[in-house]
Subunit: 491 residues, 2 copies
């Protein structure tokens, strides 16, 4: 006899499988699709979205949810995820969901053009539409509660703007102080010199992925304009990009995406094609990509191995010792662009976006005042005047596609990575010996066992707390940054 729970899970499994298909289509679009197929592809994607939306709002899901009895903690967690998704879907009228899909799809193109032309006024009207629609959506979701929190909860269940704001207030003084000391230090690291062949970069990127234990039987590496990872279960693919003057862009994009993919591939195979079979939140996902990229990939031990590898593969590039190379990898320099930022400054970029987008959604900042607000805040936080909109408020795609409440999950990821790193080092004291030989798999093994394998079983913050053995906060990240950059810059 099948129960309501069994029927719901069978239905959900097909929905998850179709979601994977839609994801694969997105991967194809960014990596393989011929350019002339774009218009047809948008119809194909739209048809898939229609199928998925119909399943997510299918009234039978509500009926099954009302009747289903979880037999254990795993079943309870599955139901929690399905209920959250269903309730979210039914709260938003179909008309609003369609309008949002339509407007954000147009807005992304408008943003790309505006960024290319440095044309803020050309972007503001549609940004205003996106904000108005997301405000409407937030009102449906919040049911009287905080609108921004309702949006944030899509990406980080359980997080609140108040909590994140308080954390940012604690982080800011130490980061600002560290940044000032680093940029004022007498000795500044050198940058790499020369040109680094694309094929050799890609070969090294493959070896880096292998070093972190990426499972090539269940993944692959391709080129994309903006690196991303895609897919869950047994098919988690990564992409990177290549700039011949800047091999670190390729290498650290690869390691970052390997972190995301290892999380997906590390989840218990029993959860495959169920709600528990994917990373639990954006913040927890980012904790994996960040600890791989920064605490491990930019460590003295691992960069020592990378230095030897790069000398063998690329010859001379103006850096002659492993210590110099380590400093170069971790070089802090003034810059406008979040995605090119270093570990010290990255969270300052996020903090200003967080404050600005809260004000936009809350209504206290209007889009016509956004550019001035951005530029004033950037000057205050970074000491530099924004020289053009593409270095300022037009640099990120997020707001054009309606991603309000997403930015803070990047910093949450950094904070969580700091906590995980502290626990990892305590549990695996000889990790540096492996990293120095180009082997990061003991770290992947620890993360898989303590965190990755659980997928969506626990709430995001509990996922981190269980893995670390303590409640996460910003302390470990800040301690790590001060120690690391204090040593590199001899502060």
């Amino acid at each position: 006899m099948t129960t309501a729970y069994d029927e719901l899970m069978a239905f959900q499994r097909e929905t998850e499988a179709l979601g994977q298909v839609a994801g694969r289509l997105g991967w194809d679009q960014e990596t393989m699709m011929p350019r002339g197929a774009a218009e047809q592809r948008s119809e194909e994607m739209s048809a898939m979205e229609g199928v998925l939306h119909a399943r997510r709002t299918d009234p039978r899901v509500g009926e099954w949810l009302a009747k289903a009895e979880p037999a254990d903690a795993v079943a309870a967690a599955q139901l929690r995820h399905i209920r959250r998704s269903y309730e979210r879907s039914v709260k938003v009228p179909a008309r609003l969901a369609q309008e949002l899909a339509r407007v954000t799809s147009v807005a992304q193109g408008v943003w790309a053009q505006a960024r290319a032309k440095e044309d803020v006024p050309g972007f503001l009207p549609i940004l205003q539409d996106v904000i108005r629609l997301r405000q409407e959506e937030a009102a449906c979701l919040a049911a009287g509660g905080d609108a921004y929190d309702a949006l944030l909860n899509d990406y980080e269940p359980g997080a609140t703007a108040a909590g994140i704001g308080a954390m940012f207030d604690r982080m800011r003084p130490r980061l600002v102080a560290l940044r000032a000391k680093v940029l004022g230090a007498a000795k500044q690291p050198a940058a790499l010199q020369g040109s680094f062949g694309a094929d050799a970069q890609m070969r090294m990127a493959r070896d880096l992925a292998t070093a972190f234990g990426y499972d090539w039987e269940r993944g692959r590496l391709d080129l994309a304009v903006h690196p991303f990872s895609s897919g869950s279960g047994d098919d988690a693919r990564i992409t990177t990009r290549v700039a011949e003057a800047d091999p670190f862009n390729c290498f650290y994009s690869t390691i970052h995406e390997v972190g995301h993919a290892c999380y997906e591939l590390g989840i218990d195979s029993d959860y495959r094609l169920t709600p528990l079979g994917a990373g639990v939140s954006m913040g927890v996902h980012e904790s994996q990509s960040r600890i791989y990229e920064n605490q491990l990939g930019r460590s003295r031990a691992f960069t020592g191995w990378m230095f030897t590898q790069m000398r063998e593969r690329f010859g001379e590039f103006g850096i002659t010792s492993a210590d110099e190379f380590y400093a170069s990898v971790n070089r802090v320099s003034p810059g406008y662009i979040r995605t090119e930022s270093d570990e010290v400054q990255y969270n300052l970029h996020i903090m200003m976006r967080f404050d600005l987008e809260r004000d936009l959604i809350g209504g206290s900042l209007s889009v016509k005042d956004l550019e001035d607000a951005w530029n004033a805040r950037f000057l205050a936080d970074f000491g530099v005047a924004v020289d053009r909109p593409s270095h300022g408020m037009l640099q990120d795609v997020h707001w054009s596609v309606g991603l309000f409440g997403y930015f803070p999950t990047y910093s949450l990821g950094n904070v969580y990575a700091g906590c995980l790193h502290r626990a990892l080092r305590a549990d695996v004291p000889d990790l540096d010996a492996a990293l120095a030989k180009g082997d990061a798999t003991p770290a992947t093994g620890w993360l898989r066992e303590r965190l990755q394998r659980h997928g969506g079983l626990r709430e995001p913050k509990d996922t981190i707390a269980e893995a670390c053995g303590f409640e996460p906060d910003e302390g470990p990240l800040l301690d790590y940054l001060e120690a690391k950059f204090g040593a590199i810059y001899q502060l």
Copy 2:
């Protein structure tokens, strides 16, 4: 006011878009998918098949079909296709359709492993499952009629096993006689000597595709174990394979798939994502791939250009004149593999598969006896004993994925290509001048205008008759083969 026809076509358009998504997933599986993702992929394919089946059997389609009034011949043709698909789909239970999708997806992997390991017993159980499911499906479709005809009609509407069998009976004596004379001829063409680098082969394959007018803005070329083409509208991709000792394998696989893809890409763009927006049948499709590959790609004029190109790219390979090269390209030699077969023997390969698969579906041949039956028939028809299963019954993917009734469409394609070639040469008398310069686009232009652009507008046989200006039969193909090989072998 929307009519039933408009509503039906809007619904159908989404179904066509989802069909393209499923096709892209198939392409991915053969070219890009990590091996470890096979099991998950079979669930994803099955879920897509479930969605498509639900749409194809949606009762609203039946209601719209009952009410829809076609305004013109195009609308009438659209309705004819939708009606055929609807009537076919409602005959097959959803459970059976999903089971077929699941089992064939697994079986394809099992076949690939079995072929690699020469392991017939490892393949038979799942082949038995595939046959049983296709028999069940055929019984649903045939409604008391011939089971094999019911399967054949999926690939070639209007064709019957009796008609094809009679045609094969007329073809066999002339082909057997030609084969005997050719293999017994005093002077045999030389084979290429040496090794041909994989990268250089792929570069030449790209240039060959360009020579035939393949639109790279709406397609791409990748490697696959078994070359195929995939996709309609603005996204028609091709694959090839590379063997360093045998560049013709790569080159003629490419030209063959370019023929398929040019057909799809040549269809009137008004038909995109409608039932008319795809090649009308497998036989007509194969007529395009075959005329590109054989009548054009293996012509004296085009091979003259290829000879120059190969000398430039690969240096010496034991062939010193364009005439010798032409003979080498068209060399007839004993061999086990259908896909490597020459024009003289190819249809003999098909005839044996046609007889064997009719017996498998009809039940007079069991899978446990298949290997013996294959080997006995091969010895009788080709005078050679099969030396290993990968040279025998494990060589083709078709049966593993349930393609019973498909093989004869290859020979129909050859027959149709013979007819089209006769008409093309009459209409474009100076074609050889262009081919000799490596430009086959006048042929693509003629085929697009006379045949390709119409897509599914006419029934398969009428499509050929309209393009040629005469009713197709095997005569032109046999005349062409006797003249061509009579000259090459000085018979």
